[in-house]
């Protein structure tokens, strides 16, 4: 059985005043059927750009190359019409902002049915019935009534459920969730995550979960890809990452999580500095200006992804296997 998604050396560059700057550099990862993979990193490190590049929804100023194999087909070379057949049918996507992701002037029912009508040869009546079922599945009370309401009449959590219903309407094989719970409050967050997990189990959907919240990762994911400044810096199973983090950036992220059991006066340890901007990438290792373990080599030469152990990789010179 082929992988659901195989991303091979994906590069995204943005045209800023006539010059192309790399926003995503040489990103490769894969997703197995039924697997949930987390894509983690601070804001501005290329997570969302990566996810939008997969489904070709980046603005025209972006230049994308590499390979994105969805069930063996390269999405980056498909005709526009073929790509549209995959969007909404094979791949569903939900976004960070449930408040603005639904069209304010159309009824919920019309917005869910639309996906079905675009991809399935069914009547409006059937689409309506299936939409009601979908709303039931995502845990919306009184689905028949909600079908007839407009987005502004629903709360943020309800709207995100509707977004999930839209994304899942055609039962896609891959669901891309770009910070799906960031805009929601904590209790709703937990409900939405629980819902996504149920859906993944019930339909066997693979999920690419983009988040900056390591708590969410621990709860949801099988494997994790950590991104920093447009590159993958560490990749491995959830256990690898939480119990044996290799890259100083991953360790930094873990240290920045508040721990409830910690002795009271222990302070959080933020990572000093900021993610470098597109136009000012540091030479050598991109994390070197913020790294507590920086060595001379790091400032000159960019490390590659070294295999730490089976399927656990880290982009740090400290993980280079020295021949003895």
């Amino acid at each position: 059985m082929p992988n659901i998604l195989d991303v091979e050396s994906l590069n995204v560059e943005f045209n800023i005043n006539g010059t192309y700057y790399p926003a995503v550099h040489d990103v490769s990862f894969h997703i197995n059927p039924g697997e949930t993979v987390g894509l983690v990193g601070e804001s501005g490190c290329g997570k969302s750009v990566t996810s939008l590049a997969l489904v070709r929804l980046l603005p025209k100023s972006a230049r994308v190359n590499g390979e994105v194999l969805y069930e063996g087909r390269n999405l980056l070379t498909l005709a526009d019409g073929e790509m549209r057949k995959i969007r909404g049918d094979g791949i569903g996507m939900i976004f960070q902002e449930p408040m603005t992701s639904l069209n304010p002037v159309y009824k919920i029912g019309a917005q869910i049915s639309e996906t079905l009508l675009l991809h399935r040869d069914i009547s409006a009546k059937e689409a309506f019935a299936q939409s009601v079922d979908m709303l039931k599945k995502v845990g919306i009370p009184r689905p028949e009534e909600i079908m007839d309401e407009h987005p502004h009449q629903l709360s943020g959590g309800m709207r995100q459920r509707v977004m999930i219903a839209i994304a899942m309407a055609c039962n896609p094989h891959l669901l891309i969730a770009d910070e799906p719970t960031t805009a929601l409050d904590v209790t709703i967050q937990a409900q939405i995550l629980e819902l996504m997990r149920e859906i993944s189990n019930e339909f066997g959907t693979s999920i690419l979960l983009i988040t900056h919240d390591l708590g969410v990762v621990a709860e949801m994911c099988h494997r994790v890809v950590v991104m920093y400044a447009g590159q993958i810096v560490e990749q491995g199973t959830v256990d690898d990452l939480f119990f044996n983090p290799q890259h100083p950036y991953t360790r930094g992220l873990l240290n920045a999580i508040p721990k409830i059991d910690a002795r009271s006066k222990q302070r959080l340890q933020p990572i000093e500095g900021n993610v470098p901007s597109l136009t000012r990438m540091p030479k050598g290792c991109r994390f070197s200006p913020r790294c507590p373990h920086v060595m001379d080599q790091c400032k000159v030469q960019s490390p590659e992804l070294f295999e730490v152990e089976n399927i656990h990789f880290s982009r740090c010179w400290m993980n280079e296997k020295k021949e003895i």
């Binding site: 929804l57 996507m93 976004f95 902002e97 304010p104 996906t115 675009l118 839209i166």
Partner: protein, 317 residues
């Protein structure tokens, strides 16, 4: 909803009264008296005094106003000095002609502006967008009466394609629908081309903003094609500012029709108004002013109601 409409109409009454007071004062300030114009060569002081008394023009201004207002409230718009017919009758006779010009140009202009603005926004900063923007500016800065004269010179005098004025051809015994339609083309064009220019610019910026919204990305993610994204998802959101403009443009277009009807010798309300101003026919001037005031209020009310139909977030209280 009904309550809201009634309230809006009631709220408009003081505004309308203010408009009548100001117009009444202004037309009496303008030099030239109807008595002098009506008597023409037969003017003598005695005849003038008799006629003034007959028309009620010898009374103090405030009294004239209240007499006029009193008649208005009883549904009497007064008698035209020149035509010696009821004002209401004259206005109703001229109204259909004006309505056709104005409604046709509003409809054509809106459809065209919405389409042009949307396409411009979608292909923003392309060659097409830039050329369209320049042409838009050209028409936007053109007065409608000037454009009207230009169209007559080109299409009637030089090319002989279209008639230069009137409602139907006087030379033909039984002018049909086609003839009537041909007479409409130039006046409607002079009005609509200028409205299009302004509205297309609003539509362009509104559509540009909509296309950046998250729900547009959602629509693309569902697999909708670009036509659907622009004309189904973004359009209904972008059209809201144009609806407000629709309400505001109604009186402006009626005023524009005043010049256009004069140029094309088209016997609508504009021409009636124009002639009334020239002969100081006060009752007609006031009658049409009241009518325009009512149209303005109704135009805004219609715009508000349309707004609520297009945008479900609007509630009427």
């Amino acid at each position: 909803m009904l309550k809201y409409m009634v309230r809006r109409v009631l709220e408009a009454i003081p505004t309308l009264l203010g408009v009548t007071v100001i117009s009444f004062i202004m037309i009496h300030i303008v030099p030239g008296s109807p008595v002098r114009i009506l008597l023409g060569n037969h003017y003598t002081l005695e005849r003038a005094a008799v006629l003034s008394k007959e028309l009620g023009l010898n009374k103090p201004l405030w009294m004239q106003y209240f007499i006029w207002l009193g008649n208005l409230l009883r549904g009497n718009f007064g008698f035209s000095y020149v035509y010696n017919k009821p004002v209401a009758h004259l206005v109703l006779q001229a109204l259909p002609h004006t309505l056709i010009i104005v409604v046709a140009s509003i409809l054509v202009a809106h459809l065209f502006a919405v389409f042009l603005g949307s396409v411009q926004a979608y292909y923003q900063d392309s060659m097409f967008d830039q050329v369209a923007t320049v042409i838009n500016y050209l028409f936007y800065s053109m007065p409608s009466f000037w454009l009207g004269v230009l169209l007559i010179i080109v299409f009637s005098i030089d090319l002989h394609w279209l008639p230069s004025g009137g409602i139907v051809s006087s030379q033909i015994a039984n002018p049909g629908f086609g003839d009537w339609l041909r007479h409409l083309i130039l006046p409607v064009c002079s009005l609509f081309m200028i409205s299009v220019a302004g509205w297309a610019r609003y539509m362009r910026s509104s559509m540009r903003e909509s296309l950046l919204q998250d729900y547009v990305r959602t629509a693309r993610m569902k697999g909708a094609n670009e036509f659907r994204v622009v004309f189904v998802h973004a359009l209904r959101n972008s059209i809201l500012p144009l609806i407000t403009l629709f309400g505001l443009s109604l009186p402006a277009l009626l005023a524009g029709a005043l010049f256009i009807e004069e140029i094309f010798n088209y016997p609508g309300m504009g021409l009636l108004y124009w002639n009334a101003v020239n002969s100081r026919d006060y009752p007609i001037i006031m009658g049409i002013t009241v009518f325009l005031g009512i149209v303005t209020v109704l135009g805004n009310l219609v715009a508000d109601i349309l707004y609520g139909i297009v945008d479900p977030r609007i509630q009427y209280r």
